[in-house]
Each structure stands twice: as C-alpha cells, then as structure tokens.
Symmetry: C2
Subunit: 416 residues, 2 copies
C-alpha cells in the first residue's frame, strides 16, 4: 500500500507547476471591465487529457477539445465566458476552430494542441472580432505572476474563486499539480457549466494521464450535484509538461502512477467540493458516504439518487432530521440492496438498521441538522465498494436565482 | 383502427361501475375528524391488477398488495392515511397482514383478495387498535352513495379531490370504468405517495387486466413528475367485476381489449394530469411531447430528462422563454439523437431546428410563457414513437412546503 502522506497543499493554483504561464483579459464579450478571456499555456510540450460533457446538445468547443486530446498532447487552453457557443450550428463549429487557430498562432503551437472552452448564453454567435483582439492582448501578458487572477478570470456566478495545488514526490523528483475550476452548481442562472483546468510538471504519457483523469473525475466532479442538471459545456482538461524531470510514467500500474493519481484525486476532490459548497442559493454542505456497494457504478447510482432527491434537499434546508426521506431517496435508485441489512446514519447517529428505526436521541439529531455541514452515511451491505458524494441544500434562493430573466437580453436563451 | 369516439366521461368516480360499494371514516390515525380510512369493495368476484413502487425501501402494504394480485383476483381495498407503515420492519409486515385479515373478515372475502395501502409518516408503528375499530365502522357504512367522499377520504396535501370515470361499449354491452387518486406530486411534505384505485364492471381476465394496466400506467402515472422523487408507497390497483355482462376479454389482441385499454388510458391520463396540475407549490402546468423517438423507453428517457430538469422548471416559473434550458435538458438524457436534425417548439413556436436557433418572434414567445399552461414539443428525428409527459413548475413555495417540520411530531421521520 502506497502512503500518500507526503501530498501537501501549496499556493499557486493552476500556475503552481513549473513551465506554465497564463493571463486573463476583458475582451468585451461581457460588459467591460469583466474578465472574459483566459489563456493557459505550457512553455514545453505537454501530454494532455480531458473529459467533456455527455450532453447530446453539447457546445462546439467541446468537439475541438476532444479532437485535441485524441492526439494526447496540448499546450494551450483558451477559454471565454459570457457566450457558450452552443446551439450555434456550423457557424459555432467554425468559430471554435478559429478560436483554436488564433490561440495556436499566438502561442506558437499546432492547432491540434489547443483546448477550447466556452461558457455563457446558449444560442448566440460568438463575437469573433472581440475574441481575436482579446487573444492578441493575452499573448503579450502571459506570465506566472497572478494565479489568483486566472481563477477569477473564469468565474461567472461563483461567489469565490476556486483553486487548489499540491506538491509531492514522484520517481524521486519534487513535482506539483494544481488547478482552477468554475461552476456554482452543475448549472447557473446566466452562465453555467463546470470548467476545470489542471496543470502538472510530472512526466506522464497521455494514455496514463487520461486513465488517471477518468478515475479521478469519477470520484470528484461526477460525485457532486447541485441540482442534478448536466450542462452543454462541462469540461475538465489536464496538461502535463514533464518539467519535474521524473522518469516518464507510462502505464497505470506503477507506484509513481499511484502517487500521481492520488495527487490528482486530492486536487479534483478539493475543487469539486468547492463547487458543491458554492452551489446556487446553498446554505448547507452535504456529504453522502455510500459503503457496502457491490461496484463503483452501484455506489454512484445509489449516491446520486440521494444527492439529487429534491425532497431530502429541502428537508436539509429546513434543518429537518428526516431519515425517511433518505430511505426513500436511496430506495428509489433501483440498486437491489436488502433493506433489512442496510443501515443509515445522519451526523454519526444510526437512525435505521436491521430493518427498522433505531432508538436514537431525536434532540441530538435535530441539533446536528442545524449545522452548516451534514454527513449522511448509507451502508448497502452488498459488497466492499464505497464512494463519497457531495451536494448542497435546495433553497428558495435557488429558485429565485434561476427564475429571473433580464428581458433586455438577446433572443438567444440564457444558461448553458 | 378502432374508433374510441364513444368513450364518454360520466360522474361517479370509483363508484361509477356496477357492483362496487365504498366508505370512508375517521379512525383517529390522523386527528379527528379527518377521514383516514377508506374501504372499496366489489360485491362480486373480481379480476385484479396492480402496479407498486419499485423503491427498494418500499412499505409493508405494497408487499401484501403484490401478493394479492399474484392470484389475479381481489375484492376489497383497504387504505389508511396518516401513517405509511414503511421502515417498520417485521412489525409493519405483521400489521399490514392483520389489516388485510380484518378487511377480509369484515367483507367476507379471502385474505388474499384484499389490497392494502398506507400513506403518511415513515417509521411509525400503525396504531392497530384504531385501524381495527375503523374497519368495524367501515363495514356498516359501505354504499354507492358518496363517491366524492371516497375521493376526499384518500386526500392528504392534495388541494382538490381527483376522480374520473367513463362509459363505453365493449362486446355490445355498456360498461363503466372509474377511479380516484391522491398525490400532490410524487411526494408531499407530510403525507406523500401517489395512490390510485380504479374499478370497472368489464369482464376481463386478470392477465389481460394486468397487461392493460401496465401499458396505461407507462403512459400516464409514469409520465408525470413534480420533483422526480419516487415514494415508498406508490400503488395503482384495478378491480374488474364483470357486471357489464360482456363476453370475458381473455387476451391482449382483440378489439374489445383495445376499447377497454383506451378507456383505462383515458381515466389514468386524466387522473395523472390532475396530480401534475396539483403539484406542490405549482403555478403552471407543463405538457412535454416527445416525437420521433426510436422506442417508448427512449421517448420516456428523453421526456423525463426534461420534466425533471430543475433549471427548466424554475425558468417556467419565472416565465422565461428559455429554449436553451430545454436543449440542455433533453441533451442530458443520453438518448443519442442528432442535434442537427432535432427540433424544439415552445407553445407552437419553433425555436430550434436544423442545428441552429430559428428566427422566432421573441415577444410572442414571452407572451406564451406567461400562460398557465405551457406546451413543449421535442422531435428527436430518430423514429416513429411518441410520448406525452406532464409536469409543473418549480417554485419557492415547493421548497417552503417541504422544508417545514413540526417539531412536536413523533421521532419517526415524515413524508413517505
């Protein structure tokens, strides 16, 4: 068993790793002076991996990103906010390609080494003149100076910038991995989308990088839910430029790979939890631990049934110590567990086990439910897999935020 | 093609068909004088069919009901509200069996001819002394006099009683089919659960009856969503006592079967729509028509992705003409349609087709979105199957209703 005790958090966010530079500018896609265009660039060739939304109505740039990482390498990430470039048909594809071409030219890389992301209104054509002028500006401003500004540059309705970085030792060399993300839930009132960009100086082959990313996303971003909705633009992209000087990790079975994956999990889980905690209108942060599942898929199915159950999320908002709603939620997942063997704990208090309600201290339970952080544990008693998921409460403020509409806006509908 | 023009609505609800009697009393499970115990009884042997929730944490009475209809016959339905008899373990099973035995004795039928349903708090043991005294009272009050009272007797947070009945001709004989249901959404703040009881005087074999019920439920109750949550107690039960005198319908391929199924669909869809329209906190009624699906399952998957999409339902509450949220919702279903061929209409206005936003009249669209009833049509352009689903908007009132908790309540959690 590898010990991961020496993965330590450091500052620097997406610029913590060696050999990466970045910049953010206000290009005018959003009303100035709001930052709306961000570039992240590796000064050295880099392995690349990405996961994008499975939404059928996904945005044009997600195709470009997918195409780029097919080759296993990328060096430049270009991101705009304020316009999702989704529902824009052939014009949208052409614009996303041009965005890649402009960023490639500016940073001296191949077009197929550019990751493109957009977030904002669905159905509006991108103002390519502004994007082009913005990329020109970005080119001259790339530096390692302002990691905080890069995290702010991709924010939309987020109330706080979200970043995390760690250092660790791999193959005897000191290495770093850091990232930023945006998203105040799976969705937001005007700008939606979960975007995450991670850089590392570890030397690792693209296939191993993609394996590690898939594994980590399955245990981090795919385990959070604000409202259960899936965006058209969600993307997680990861660049690894090898500047740590370790012997290149080529497969998914070595100790070095295990350490790298643990570092990646640390950062992706930290960022994912920050999104759930910053959920729209949220007042509480909820951790759902599924144990005793027969497989990862089963744990996730059961867990998502709980994190998406509106009635439970309103009870948590109301501070209601309501174990019945947890039972109904996990029972609705169609995972065929045995209710006579399953157990449910809220805030450490066993409320249901051996097929019946336990004799618990209701006053203590209610006191626990008044806390800002609530932990729910469900033992399915079927196997050895476990999974932790995170969500927030469902509040009247969530509805208010998402029901509002600025009638002066363009014809294209809001929110991706 | 059979013509169903002669299916006509009539009064009488669950007592419209010949040979059925019913009664409702206040037994004290809920504070008097609230009606909380209902009995429906066929004076003649009857075929029976039922569908119950697939929730793993389902309540004890759903097992009794399932057992009863396995034999294909049932004559008495006993229902209590105020206590779900869920999460009650072996005691709950024993109580549900005793409820069946008491109702069987009172009405002179076999124990296995009794359908048992409960709705209310999860985790409380049923007060069987009150249930027993209530069944005694019911026995002396069974009549055909008060169909409206029977509909009211199963209400919990419903704001209106829900019933529907039709008459039609089958095998040359006049026949009737009618039902009642309760449920203000899939769930409710204190009392949850969708329950539906249907009676008919058509002569039909139990297997054909179950086939027709499964088909109709798939196109009615399984097409409504208030919040996407599934209860522990949901049950639809259907008794057919043959008093219309038609030649018994034995299989699922005859013209008589087709007419019967159409009548059943009429009543189940009417009742299902009444539940969606009475959704907790709802201000709008939303119809979602999926066309061009490759199969029923695909249409349902796409449709439910739309009817469960919180962000769309808040937009509808806000009167926001937001086609982007519809695209994101149907795209999230993972049905592999081609977005370049799909089309989206809101209130008859085509907003998206041929891979791009259409040039529509936004002012007209906004005016339509202000209406109480909204129709969304999505053509997946993949096949010939279509399905209509119904839902309501997501409102701050929904959250308020479900966050409230009466701290003086019992330890058992609320809401099934």
């Amino acid at each position: 068993m590898t010990s991961f005790a020496d993965i330590n958090e450091v500052s620097g966010g997406v610029l913590a790793a060696q050999g990466f530079v970045a910049a953010a500018v206000s290009s005018g896609i959003k009303p100035p002076p709001a930052l709306d265009l961000v570039m992240i660039h590796s000064q050295y060739p880099a392995s690349a991996a990405a996961t994008v939304t499975r939404n059928v109505f996904r945005a044009a740039p997600t195709y470009i990103t997918e195409e780029a990482v097919t080759n296993g390498k990328a060096r430049t990430i270009i991101v705009n906010s304020g316009n999702a470039n989704a529902g824009t048909g052939r014009q949208g594809m052409s614009d996303a390609r041009q965005m890649a071409a402009l960023a490639a030219e500016a940073t001296g890389v191949e077009v197929l080494e550019v990751v493109v992301c957009s977030t904002g209104h669905i159905g509006d054509i991108l103002p390519m003149d502004k994007v082009a002028a913005g990329i020109d500006q970005l080119d001259g401003r790339l530096s390692r100076a302002n990691p905080e500004e890069i995290a702010r540059g991709i924010m939309t309705t987020d109330t706080v910038p979200k970043h995390c970085a760690v250092e660790f030792t791999v193959g005897g060399r000191g290495a770093r991995l850091g990232g930023i993300c945006k998203g105040a839930g799976m969705i937001c009132p005007n700008m939606a989308t979960m975007l995450c960009f991670i850089t590392t100086d570890v030397a690792i082959a693209a296939t191993a990088l993609q394996d590690a990313l898939n594994w980590s996303v399955a245990r981090s971003f795919n385990c959070i839910s604000v409202d259960g909705d899936m965006s058209t633009n969600d993307t997680v992209a990861l660049l690894a430029n090898g500047q740590a000087g370790n012997e290149t990790i080529t497969g998914a079975v070595s100790e070095d790979y295990a350490v790298f994956r643990a570092a990646l999990l640390h950062v992706t889980q930290d960022l994912a939890k920050k999104i759930a905690a910053d959920g729209e209108g949220a007042t509480k942060f909820v951790t759902v631990k599924i144990t005793g599942a027969a497989s990862y898929e089963e744990a996730r199915t059961a867990g998502r049934a709980v994190t998406n159950y509106s009635l439970l999320k309103t009870a948590i908002y109301g501070g209601d110590f309501n174990w019945g709603r947890i039972a109904a939620a996990v029972g609705s997942s169609e995972v065929p567990f045995d209710p006579d063997r399953a157990a449910i704990k809220i805030a450490g208090i066993t409320v249901f086990a051996e097929g019946k309600v336990q004799d618990f201290d209701l006053a203590r339970g209610r006191a626990q439910m008044a806390a800002k952080e609530i932990e729910i544990e469900i033992d399915l008693a079927r196997g050895d897999e476990s999974l932790t998921l995170w969500t927030c409460d469902l509040t009247p403020e969530y509805v208010h935020l998402n029901a509002e509409y600025d009638a002066s806006d363009l014809a294209g509908a809001e929110a991706d």
